[in-house]
Amino acid sequence: MNAPVSTSNLHDCRDAFAATLERLAAEDAKVVAVCNDSVGSSKLGDFKAKFPERLVNVGIAEQNLVGIGAGLANGGRLPFVCGASCFLTGRALEQIKADISYSNANVKLVGISSGMAYGELGPTHHSIEDFAWTRVLPNLPVIAPCDRIETAAAVEWAASYAGPCFLRLSRVGVPDLLPDDHKFVLGRANVLRQGSDVTLIANGTLTHRLAKAAEILASRGIEARVLNMATVRPIDEEAIVAAARETGAIVTAEEHSIFGGLGSAVAEVVVDHAPVPMKRLGVPGIYAPTGSAEFLLDEFGMAPSAIADQAASLIMRK
């Protein structure tokens, strides 16, 4: 059950981000990419080649990165502000609060290589706090797409949305999960699998692991509902309440601390509206040991088989 997925089926969502941004830029002269010496890691090399004047590289200066983004929006540009998520959100959080969220500036923040994507580079480069930091800020939708299709759809949506948002992307390969014609709807979870025994909720790089966990559970006679919940804020309360009432138990999994992220957001809704047993999987409030992102996700109990085991034991508490 834990056979590795063929890597040829895995896709780096940054490619979908970059291709979509280039298409949008070709259609709309207002689109600009802003980065902090991250042309390569943000996959903006082709953008730079096609639209050199619209690639604004501020150098290694994240406070400036976000502030300049706000100013570009004020001047009528449509900025996609890109940087490694750990630096973008951690270093420039006050700029994100005051210049973007509070000012309601029409800036698209794009956190690249979020979660533990930087693996062996260690906890300074991990971004397992960014949901917690950003989802408390008004006016700022927080979105973590699960595959390249949802990434492209979310970037397309962001360009058309009149306000700021935070797109949380990874560099870790993920398989296609959603249909090619998927349209992103803010705050709407996607049911990837129907089930009535337990609900599994994830986003980003964890969604495909849940899909596999559900297959494992099915082989044991347990029907799990699988929700892809890309939008962490505004959270899909309706889908969560329905999951609680119809399945009676919820497991969340995320490439983030278990404190303050997707699991916490789901738990807030569950506590308020439909209390049921829950299990929140994620980084358990520690700095990760050395290892790749995939290794660390397994290490922290998020291998598909481990997720399935957690779900099975949670059902016993119903």
């Binding site: 207002k30 600009v32 004047e53 619209r54 604004v56 501020v58 150098g59 200066a61 406070q63 400036n64 976000v66 502030g67 300049i68 983004g69 706000a70 100013g71 570009l72 929006a73 004020n74 001047g75 009528g76 540009r77 900025p79 006050e94 700029q95 005051a98 210049d99 509070y102 000012s103 309601n104 500036a105």
Partner: protein, 269 residues
């Protein structure tokens, strides 16, 4: 408007600012008095603006990075017609849109929310860069406090402005020599500012920032580099007992002090 007339308007703004701070029982009067001549010159002569159309795309941009001087900005905006002067009586009152720091989504004429220091200049760099990208000919002005220049984000922005060739950007440093708790010279002096900015690729003009005859031409200057005006000002300018006294950063005058200040400013009218 000529400098003599601008001086008269500045005195009226000082008087109204004093009244608003006294009525509200809070404010940052020292740094408001120091910057009012610059605000007056901008709003009554230099800025290309349309008060009844505050979001018109071709407007010049102004950012008050030292957002704690919000009251002075509110008085100036109201006097210039962005909103009714009567509303100034709501300053800091519950649900008033005239908060202790300016809010761009509530107050017409405010471009971005400021309050935490070191935010306005990076945003202004973005505004000026946007004009370069789109070919717009608006000019961007930003006023920082001098203590505020201790924030590292400003120096990120100063480097970027030079790199981007933003000769459509003017930074005014309100150099009143005092920050909240002490003189700059006793904290982190920053002096001399001029060669620092010049070394970073800016053109620098030093002026008496409380002398309208010097303020106006400096603001109207255009060159080939981003322009910094080091405006030497006095904290509490115009009110004798406040001048250059650090405690008047955010102290509120008592009744007796208020009446003395009122008399001094009224006399100057």
């Amino acid at each position: 408007m000529q400098p003599k007339e601008l001086e008269r308007v500045a005195r009226q703004i000082r008087l109204r600012d004093l009244q608003a701070v006294y009525a509200a029982g809070a404010g940052h009067i020292g740094g408001e008095m120091s910057v009012i001549d610059i605000l007056t010159a901008l709003y009554f002569r230099v800025l290309r603006i349309w008060p009844d159309e505050p979001k018109r795309p071709e407007r010049d941009r102004f950012v008050l990075s030292k957002g704690h001087a919000a009251c002075a900005l509110y008085v100036t905006l109201a006097k210039r017609g962005f909103f009714a002067e009567d509303e100034l009586s709501t300053f800091l009152q519950p649900h008033s849109r005239l908060n202790g720091h300016p809010n761009c989504n509530k107050v017409p004429g405010v471009e971005t929310n400021t309050g935490p220091l070191g935010h306005g200049l990076p945003v202004a760099v973005g505004m000026a860069k946007a004009a370069k990208l789109s070919g717009a000919d608006y000019h961007t002005y930003v006023v920082t406090g001098d203590g505020e220049m201790q924030e590292g984000s400003n120096w990120e922005a100063i480097m970027a402005a030079a790199q981007f060739g933003l000769n459509n950007l003017t930074l005014v440093i309100d150099h009143n020599r005092f920050q909240q708790g002490a003189a700059l010279s006793d904290t982190n002096d920053l002096a001399p500012l001029r060669p620092k900015l010049e070394a970073f690729g800016w053109e620098v003009t030093e002026i008496d920032g409380n002398d309208m005859e010097q303020v106006v031409p400096a603001l109207e200057h255009r060159g080939s580099l981003p322009h910094c005006i080091v405006a030497h000002t006095n904290k509490g300018q115009g009110i004798s007992f406040m001048q250059d006294r650090v405690e008047w950063h955010h102290k509120v005058p008592n009744k007796q002090q208020y009446e003395i200040a009122l008399a001094e400013l009224s006399e100057a009218l």
